[in-house]
Symmetry: C2
Subunit: 414 residues, 2 copies
């Protein structure tokens, strides 16, 4: 019978093998006293199985509060556990409850992080996955052989639909490929959702009629279920190509229902993610996380960026991009969204380390605040990537392209 | 204009006031370079406001990775921030993105936990809240002036519908008020959801016809949106009174859609919660968390129990029960679900510290493994609570009631 596997980084004051057995018991058929009905056959079929325990370092301070150690030692280990698909069939929320669920509560662990998960090939028959993915997002925007260049409406909140549409006009005329709402903008008092869609799509549709290029705008439809579906339909009927969902705030069931509509590319914003991963020994790694959302059908997912303004290290960002670009069950293509403090100067290092242009590369203030204007701002980003792909560094790209050179002068010290 | 407020426990290598300003900027109109359109009027209306900063201790080791301190000091503080309701109106996912969202990513913090939140009274006009709450769950089960006594089907997974129904029959005849699926049981290969509902509700309905007492069974409907709704309808049409949702795995949009049906009491299982709260300086406290789910309409929510088998301290459990019993906007009644290693011996301490019987008190192995049989197991739990309410301790209750005395002998050393 096919099995689902998960790899955890654990820390425990007990023997790692014993702690792993507690995990497997808690997450399948276990209880704190033996009960009738827990037969050998049932255990054989449904019990989680500890596949391997690889001991790592021992430390003397626990990472998070839990059982204390009688020896003063806390052992770290990599643990691989498996479950039969018979336990819950094909149900992403129950998959999450099984792989994450109560195990963060187990006192025998003073640290536990889900590093990775693998689902068997039969999942491919059950989950349609992203309706667009990388190729679909390229087709919708007509952008090939370079990253999609995107930006965010700033200020995040407070602009009227008309002000937002004016900004979108400026950005469209500047040659932008993609624009998104901020995750804080749902429907502010001065920017009702429908009015915002009307104003923005009017600009985008006219620009497309004139130039043949349709800017992809990710309208933030995050909200309660029926409202999300209504807003989704509004975007579709207005000729939009994309909707944004705050994945953690909306949740797996709601986000999947949106993805299942399959008429718009879904921009998966991972705000709230820091809580789930920032501690090295608590939560979930992006490698595991992004697989869940690809199964749900998200087409684009945030990964931060090189030298971002947030806490995340470059190594972690590179690993996240690689995770997105690694096929899942042979497919489930998802476009990594690079953002946070990006201005083009990070393009050479991003390309050097990932060797890909299959990215949505988001620059916030870097475009509109470009000294030579927004058009130069977009151009500078394209130049940065042209140079990066040719293996050039920042000084060489700046020497070749005046718009990029201006970016370096303005943003290079940030 | 009405404002939403949030209180955070932060740690930062910078001045707490400066770090709080970064938080407020990131979570409203800020960006890393000034952009046109960020006018004074717009900021006045939509910017988040730091209401207060209360400095606490200074430490020399950061709680979680972030910016390093040039002085070697990391300052802790309580920070209160507010947002106008105009920013996003009434939208729980956007509320979460605003109050939690990207702020866990901010490098200026080496620790950040959302302790509490307050929404203005106009929320009461927008959110119907729990359809049943404490009084409704009492009315559905006919249990008054003592906790509802509940148990969990164990083994968690592996029983057939018939085996599960047999167990439910035993429990119903033993006088149980409430039974729930484990969160790992959605629809195992040998226990299709519909067949399980049919088998169990057949037992429960017959028992109700005979005795007038309808056992509340929380069927785990957690899953993808359409399937959850189908399963919800199946429970309703079969005469069930309750459905269980794994809140974190399903997410806010999906869970609220289920609560909005208002035909079943919703048992909110918080598995996955450990990840969100176990670190003292990362994530969210239960006081804030339970408010979100009460607004969404959850009728019952897990709080662990005194001397639980998990990591959580008794103080934290008591605080969680008190949070649930504190009216939210004057209502939004939710029944706290006490569980994890409970057998009746914790009743005196639970009552002493909370002075309430408005609880769903769950015992797992404690009932079915009672030496005198399940009926004695249920009776022992009722006795424990009768004694607890009279201010008796374990020895006094054991001296008065033989079934409880047997529980003490069997489970008292666990």
């Amino acid at each position: 019978m096919e099995r689902i596997t998960a790899t955890y980084f654990i820390e425990t004051p007990f023997e790692p093998e014993a702690a792993a057995a507690v995990l497997a018991g808690e997450q399948s058929s276990g209880t704190f006293v033996a009960v009738p009905g827990e037969t050998a056959e049932l255990k054989q079929r449904f019990a989680a199985r500890v596949e391997s325990v690889e001991r790592l370092e021992t430390v003397t301070e626990p990472a998070i509060p839990g059982a204390s150690s009688s020896t003063g030692n806390y052992h770290r280990a990599l643990v691989n556990v498996s479950w039969s698909v018979e336990n819950f069939g094909y149900n992403l929320p129950v998959l999450v409850s099984t792989l994450q669920g109560n195990l963060y509560e187990i006192r025998q662990f003073t640290g536990l992080k889900l590093l990775d998960l693998d689902v068997p090939s039969s999942y491919a028959d059950q989950y349609a996955g992203p309706a667009f993915g990388i190729e679909g997002c390229r087709a919708l925007t007509g952008v090939y052989e370079r990253p999609l260049i995107g930006t965010i409406i700033k200020p995040s909140i407070g602009l009227t639909p008309e002000q937002t549409a004016d900004l979108v006009r400026t950005l469209a005329e500047a040659g932008i490929d993609f624009v998104k709402d901020d995750e804080l903008q749902g429907a502010a008092a001065n920017s009702p959702f429908e009015a915002r869609v009307d104003a923005i799509m009017n600009v985008i549709n006219r620009h497309a009629d004139k130039t043949g290029k349709k800017v992809m705008y990710a309208f933030n439809i995050s909200g309660e279920m029926d409202e999300m579906l209504r807003r989704y339909d509004k975007v579709v009927s207005s000729g939009g190509t994309c909707a944004m969902v705050s994945l953690n705030s909306v949740g797996l069931a709601g986000a999947k229902k949106i993805c299942d509509q399959r008429a718009l590319a879904i921009h998966g914003h991972r705000n709230g993610w820091g809580m789930m991963t920032r501690h090295p020994l608590l939560g979930i790694e992006f490698t595991a996380y992004q697989k869940l959302w690809r199964l749900a059908g998200v087409d684009q997912i945030h990964v931060n960026g090189i030298q971002n303004k947030f806490w995340e290290s470059d190594d972690s960002v590179v690993q996240s991009i690689q995770a997105c670009l690694t096929p899942l069950l042979g497919g489930y293509s998802v476009l990594p969204v690079v953002s946070s403090g990006q201005w083009g100067g990070q393009a050479p290092e991003t390309y050097r380390r990932t060797q890909t242009t299959d990215l949505l590369y988001m620059a916030g203030g870097g475009i509109l605040a470009h000294p030579m204007g927004p058009k130069a701002g977009v151009l500078a980003l394209q130049q940065a990537w042209e140079g990066a792909v040719q293996g050039l560094g920042i000084p060489e790209i700046a020497a070749r392209y005046p718009e990029f050179a201006e970016s370096v002068r303005k943003f290079g010290s940030l």
